[in-house]
């Protein structure tokens, strides 16, 4: 059974600070996805990581994938309030996806 864990589950940080969210999974996968969900809203695709060593950046967010360690990171640089949301990683398993529990990020002014 594939398990996907995220750390931390809750994160409160000051604007301007840096932080990293971790996603680790229990079985082999060569790809991983990150999504963002605003409160009361739907999920939005952020990053698609398709191979070992993949790194993607968009604005203040950067995601990476280490398939050997079964670990992905989502790094936040100089956080701003607009980044407050819940971030999910998801790993494909056969023809399904398994989502992590989500990291609820709150960026305080």
């Amino acid at each position: 059974e594939l398990k996907v864990e995220q750390n931390p589950l809750f994160l409160s940080m000051q604007e301007g600070k840096n932080y990293t969210i971790y996603c680790n999974y229990s079985t082999t996968s060569d790809r991983l996805y990150w999504y963002r969900q605003d409160p009361g809203k739907s999920l939005e695709s952020l990053f698609v990581l398709l191979s070992n060593g993949a790194v993607k950046q968009e604005g203040r967010l950067m995601a990476s994938l280490d398939t050997k360690a079964r670990l992905s990171t989502l790094h936040i640089t100089a956080a701003v309030h607009d980044l407050s949301a819940t971030y999910f990683c998801a790993v494909p398993l056969g023809q399904n996806f398994v989502f992590g529990p989500g990291t609820r990020l709150s960026v305080l002014p």
């Binding site: 996805y33 999920l43 494909p92 996806f97 989502f99």
Partner: protein, 114 residues
């Protein structure tokens, strides 16, 4: 020009009733999905459907049944609703086979069973 749409957005109903949620995607995607998000925000896949192949999560009660009239639609029918069915249900779609590409999610249907 909505990519993935769902109706209704809100659904309040009594225990024991039967209800349906409709989903349509205009992205030309090959695979569609249904997810359940509970009150703790955990997302769990219920079904994936690709080219008439249905993959069912074995934990989903058989009161839930997906119906796909065509490639652009995957509706969810629920029989004999129970209190524990209260959740947000998301439809999603993706290119190619399930798991091969990022998913595009619909706005969600908030179901409350009284």
């Amino acid at each position: 020009d909505t990519a993935v749409s769902q109706t209704p957005k809100y659904l309040v109903t009594q225990m024991g009733n039967d209800k349906s949620i409709k989903c349509e995607q205009n992205l030309g995607h090959d695979t569609m999905y249904w997810y359940k998000q509970d009150s703790k925000k955990f997302l769990k896949i219920m079904f994936s459907y690709n080219n008439k192949e249905l993959i069912i999560n074995e934990t989903v009660p058989n009161r839930f049944s997906p119906k796909s009239p065509d490639k652009a639609h995957l509706n969810l029918h629920i029989n004999s609703l129970e209190l524990g069915d209260s959740a947000v249900y998301f439809c999603a779609s993706s290119r190619g086979l399930a798991g091969a590409a990022a998913q595009y999610f619909g706005p969600g249907t908030r179901l409350l069973v009284l």
